[in-house]
Symmetry: C2
DNA sequence: ATCTTTGCAAACTTTTTGCACCAAT
DNA sequence: ATTGGTGCAAAAAGTTTGCAAAGAT
């Protein structure tokens, strides 16, 4: 657990480096937002990011969170995806996966993008359509709830 | 084409009947909204519905459109789905299909739900997850743009 | 010193709601 | 005559923007 924390920290540092490499400045706000995203493993909403960051920095405005998220998207560090219920969540770009959301218990399970490999191939073969894989939020019933 | 129009009209009538059967009243506003949805074949946004309806009934308010759509959803006549870009669209419930949206030319192509049959099976077999199919908006490049 | 980033307030988009009036049954 | 539906205005919820002050280089 100590080294998990450490690896999170180094991941934050790495992203800060990318930020600087991209011509942006190192700021505490950005570091705080990045830390929350890295720590959360997976996806998180803008509002949740703001709430968590504001525990440490109460003066931080939501607009700063949104602006930071936009910057991180411009640098291809995070992606924004919309679930099938219309809610937007953000995640690290290298953390690509789909989500299975249980409509009954609300649990969210991650699964690899390879799930759609077959669909991707079918689309190309049958329709000539080149799928750009994006994380999907799929809904249904989880194992436990069936 | 004459009988296409006719079948649209009879489809509108049928939905109005379902509405009454569901304990709601027949109103011009509702008829107008239903007509637009039936005529559009496929999916359409609330705002587009409002714009089209207002060509015939300029006094119709967006709130009425939203309320009508909510009523139609309660009666399982229409579904609301969110595309991967976060936009919401409405479609007749019996008109189930996925969408391929080209990121370059903006074209939208429909394709049958059977596309996901394999995925549905894999999810059940590998994860015990029972997928509830909802229309997906998938993004990529269409045949012409590749 | 310069140019970027931030906080604040305000605007914007999409959807929902309260209320008095109107319409369908 | 009732009860439900509509228009209007206003409110939410989520996201974006203009601007002057604060901060990073």
């Amino acid at each position: 657990m100590a080294n998990v924390k450490q690896s999170h920290q180094s991941q934050v540092d790495e992203i800060m480096r990318q930020l600087v490499a991209g011509g942006r400045r190192r700021t505490m706000s950005r570091q705080a937002v990045i830390k929350v995203i890295v720590d959360c493993h997976g996806h998180i909403s803008a509002d949740d990011i703001a709430t968590r960051v504001q525990k440490d920095f109460p003066s931080m405005d939501v607009s700063t969170v949104y602006r930071t998220l936009e910057t991180l998207r411009e640098l291809d560090i995070v992606d924004r995806v919309y679930f099938a219920d219309g809610s937007a969540v953000y995640h690290l770009r290298d953390h690509q996966h789909h989500h299975l959301c249980c409509e009954r218990c609300g649990s969210v399970q991650e699964l690899p993008v390879s799930l759609m490999a077959r669909v991707e191939k079918d689309l190309l073969d049958d329709f000539g359509f080149e799928l750009h894989q994006r994380p999907l939020g799929l809904f249904g019933l989880c194992k436990a709830c069936r």
